[in-house]
């Protein structure tokens, strides 16, 4: 049984309310940080912990904090990215719904470290009821002296504001989020300048994911070095994984990065295996935008090692034979699922969510969706597969923000690993409407592509 840091108290009765949360040991980190530590010490602890950003890219959070420009007389901001819209990812929702005070606590400590007096939570518009939960938590914290002016007599002022988005996936990209927060159209900005220099209202800004902020609480409580002991190598601490798809027990799981993927899918502690005695076909291990992996490459890396649930092991082999930890949206496919259809679904999502600012993404996502639609519905040609490959290659890396890459990767990985399934769709257009390609060799023992 792995150690739980974030979700340990998630099911204590009434933990959503301040009194219970406080009784269970909440807001200790605020007292510790504000009374005994300087802001730089807090940053140093986070650096020592090796905490990596939980939003998807996995950039070390302490490093990000230390990049924050600190000019005299210019206010700085911390923005919490709660615009969780990646298909397959729902860990932040769980965290905010059950433990709103954990987020608020993390925000106060982080704001103290960064010197942010006005901290914002930019929350996905569809999470309307969570806004109420958070606002209640903020009011409670304010009434108990943990927010507002002169917190705990330390002279540090901090206020947390909740802002609802309007339902755009692109606003999860940090610069688009800032534009949206400023009240403009949510188009990603062109970097540089990075938000750490010029962010919200041209002020230095740090944008962190909900889970990253929440992880600051155990880091301060137990110390950064203690936190770094959990996990493997550079994947320190615990990570929330939102598992869904064809598994017996979908839900949010906290792992300490020492489990193997096989254990995560099949053990009763976590996903509990595949229902109805089906076989595992494929899995998207980190939210819809990371490459899909067939079962053989998912359970073992190309080198034949067991694949573990951590940042390094999941990305072992690069995109040729690996994937990414991403945001932790673990989507499992059994043998009845069609990869072409799934890729079409994802392509449709990215087409719909592209902001339309830069041309490769705006035009390319729509084109890919149309080609995939043709392939899925029996109108595909063999040349379409190569065309798709060429389109994704021309989108990837040529766009302003990572959404272009996120749209290109799932298509690329599907063609890379499941090309025979695409070809089968072209060769058997009518049969493909009625039945699925099945397992083929994906669940077979490891084969290493050249």
């Amino acid at each position: 049984m792995g150690r739980k840091l974030l979700l340990e108290k998630a099911h204590v009765e009434g933990i959503r309310y301040f009194d219970v949360y406080r009784k269970e040991g909440g807001y200790r980190s605020v007292e510790k940080a504000l009374k005994t530590m300087s802001p730089d010490q807090v940053t140093e602890e986070v650096k020592k912990s090796g905490l990596r950003g939980r939003g998807g890219a996995g950039f070390p959070a302490g490093m990000k904090w230390s990049f924050l420009a600190k000019p005299e007389g210019v206010p700085r901001h911390l923005v919490c990215n709660a615009d969780e819209s990646e298909p397959g990812t729902f860990k932040d929702r769980y965290l905010m719904e059950f433990l709103p005070h954990l987020l608020i606590e993390g925000l106060i400590v982080s704001s103290y470290a960064l010197g942010s007096n006005d901290t914002y939570i930019y929350i996905r518009g569809e999470y309307a009821w969570i806004v109420d939960i958070l606002e209640q938590a903020i009011t409670e914290a304010e009434n108990n002296g943990f927010l507002g002016k002169n917190i705990l007599g330390s002279g540090f002022d901090c206020m947390v504001h909740v802002q609802r988005g309007a339902g755009a996936y692109i606003c999860g990209e940090e610069t688009a989020l800032l534009e949206s927060l400023e009240g403009k159209r949510g188009n990603p900005r062109i970097k540089p300048p990075f938000p750490a220099v010029k962010g919200l209202w041209d002020r230095p800004t740090v944008v962190n994911n909900v889970e990253t902020i929440a992880a600051v609480v155990p880091i301060i409580n137990d110390g950064g070095e203690e936190y770094a002991k959990i996990g493997v190598g550079k994947s320190t601490g615990t990570k929330l994984i939102s598992a869904c798809g064809n598994i017996n027990k979908p839900g949010v799981y906290e792992i300490d990065m020492t489990n193997s993927v096989e254990e995560f899918i099949f053990s009763d502690e976590f996903c509990g295996g595949i229902p109805n005695g089906k076989k595992l076909k494929a899995c998207i291990p980190g939210g819809s935008s990371v490459p899909i992996l067939p079962a053989n490459l998912l359970l073992k890396t190309a080198k034949g090692e067991t694949r573990m649930m951590n940042y390094e092991s999941l990305s072992d082999g690069g995109f040729a034979t690996g994937s990414m930890m991403g945001s932790g949206g673990f989507i499992v496919f059994d043998e009845d699922q069609c990869v072409v259809r799934n890729t079409l679904t994802l392509a449709r999502f990215y087409r719909h969510e592209s902001c339309g600012q830069c041309s490769p993404c705006r035009e390319g996502t729509g084109w890919m969706e149309k080609i995939l639609h043709g392939l899925e519905y029996g109108k595909g040609k063999m040349s379409d597969i190569d065309l798709l490959w060429d389109i994704q290659r021309k989108i990837e890396g040529n766009t302003i923000c990572p959404l272009g890459d996120a749209a290109a990767w799932p298509v690329a990985a599907a063609i890379r690993h499941f090309r025979d399934e695409f070809e089968w769709h072209v060769n058997n257009p009518e049969e493909a409407q009625r039945r699925n390609y099945g397992l083929a060799h994906y669940a077979d023992p490891i084969h290493v592509p050249a």
């Binding site: 592209s354 339309g356 830069c358 705006r362 084109w367 149309k370 389109i391 021309k394 890396g397 040529n398």
Partner: protein, 370 residues
């Protein structure tokens, strides 16, 4: 103290140039000039914040700077990346750039209607130039293109959203040149459009400039609509005393008639100074203007067709190329060509000639076959 300004040395396609710190790669390349300058569809020097969207100006930075010589992993938008001292940039010498640019041109033309024969912008369209210079011969897009209805934005400007490439230039113009912007971009993705939300007219003294900044034929001058092709008109520089703007314009004449008035543009197709609506739309008589002289037009432009300046005629004549023969008529070539099968008598075919007719190695065909 007038300290000597430190200049940054930047190498673009193996040509070195010293530029001021803060210059973008694109501007440095334009100082070098010629083919080294990347094409730019959305960047506009006069408009703050423009650029970075169309991705045609992508270049490869093979050496970041003298201090940090690592190459940049991705291609960068040259219009928004400032130079560093000792930077080395590859534009047309990089395979990656050529390939990516070809892709971007294909993406830009994906939903473009290609209605150049009836488009007022034809002849001075940046997308046409881009397509000729960097595009592929054909498209691989086999689906219906997205279309929009035409909109009249007030009495002077018409919007053909179908042709738009969403460069945002007109949005920046309205933001920065006029005092109140009433149009913007609605929706997102490939269905986003330039619009005024509920059909409004654009009425501002300087709103006519959006026509000049539009790189394609999406925003066109209603007073010039379908009047003429730009290459039949003669551009003339002229000025008048205007209390609103500088009054320096280019008149596009046919004979004595002034068909259109635009701002003066530099060699990169960017206007020198904004002009007001009165100059642009109302002063359409030759007596309103003081003529300065003909506008210099690039020799490569279709507008200068028929009156080339300083052209060098090719030395070799057809006679030399044809190995001593001097064909006067087309069928002279026809009769000696292997390809055209001179044995086939076209008048003997009962109907249009098809490839079936010619596949008999030049022998007489079967006339009964339709």
């Amino acid at each position: 103290m007038a300290e000597e300004k430190k200049m940054f040395k930047v190498t673009i396609d193996n040509i070195s140039i010293d530029v001021e710190p803060g210059t973008t790669i694109l501007q440095a390349a334009r100082q070098v000039g010629g083919d080294v300058a990347p094409p730019a569809m959305c960047y506009y020097t006069k408009l703050k914040g423009s650029g970075g969207k169309c991705r045609t100006c992508l270049v490869e930075v093979s050496k970041g700077s003298a201090a940090d010589p690592r190459p940049m992993p991705k291609l960068v938008a040259s219009c928004r990346t400032t130079v560093m001292d000792g930077m080395e940039v590859k534009n047309i010498t990089s395979e990656r750039v050529i390939d990516a640019r070809k892709g971007v041109v294909e993406f830009l033309l994906l939903n473009h209607p290609l209605d150049c024969p009836i488009c007022d912008q034809a002849g001075e369209c940046h997308l046409q130039d881009l397509g000729y210079d960097h595009g592929a011969e054909g498209t691989r897009y086999a689906f219906k293109r997205r279309t929009f209805d035409k909109h009249d934005l007030g009495p002077y400007i018409q919007l053909h959203m179908t042709r738009c490439i969403l460069c945002y230039r007109c949005v920046f113009t309205a933001d920065q040149v006029t005092n109140k912007r009433v149009h913007g971009v609605l929706s997102r993705g490939d269905h986003s459009e330039i619009a005024t939300y509920i059909e409004k007219s654009l009425d501002n003294d300087f709103i006519g400039n959006v026509i000049d900044v539009c790189p394609v034929g999406a925003l066109t001058d209603r007073t010039f609509r379908f009047k003429n092709r730009v290459w039949f008109t003669k551009p003339v520089e002229a000025h008048r005393d205007c209390d609103k703007c500088c009054g320096k314009v280019t008149l596009w004449q046919r004979g004595e008639e002034v068909l259109r008035v635009t701002a003066r543009k530099d060699e990169w197709g960017e206007v020198n100074e904004w002009i007001c609506n009165t100059c642009r739309f109302e002063k359409k008589h030759i007596n309103d203007w003081v003529i300065e002289g003909p506008t210099k037009i690039s020799r490569q432009s279709v507008i200068s067709q028929g009156h080339y300046v300083d052209t060098v005629r090719p030395k070799e004549t057809i006679k030399e190329v044809m190995g001593g023969r001097d064909p006067k008529l087309l069928f002279d070539i026809h009769t000696v060509s292997e390809v055209n099968k001179p044995g086939v008598d076209l008048s003997a075919i009962p109907g249009p000639a098809t490839s079936d007719v010619f596949d008999t190695k030049g022998k007489a065909i079967n006339p009964s076959k339709p």
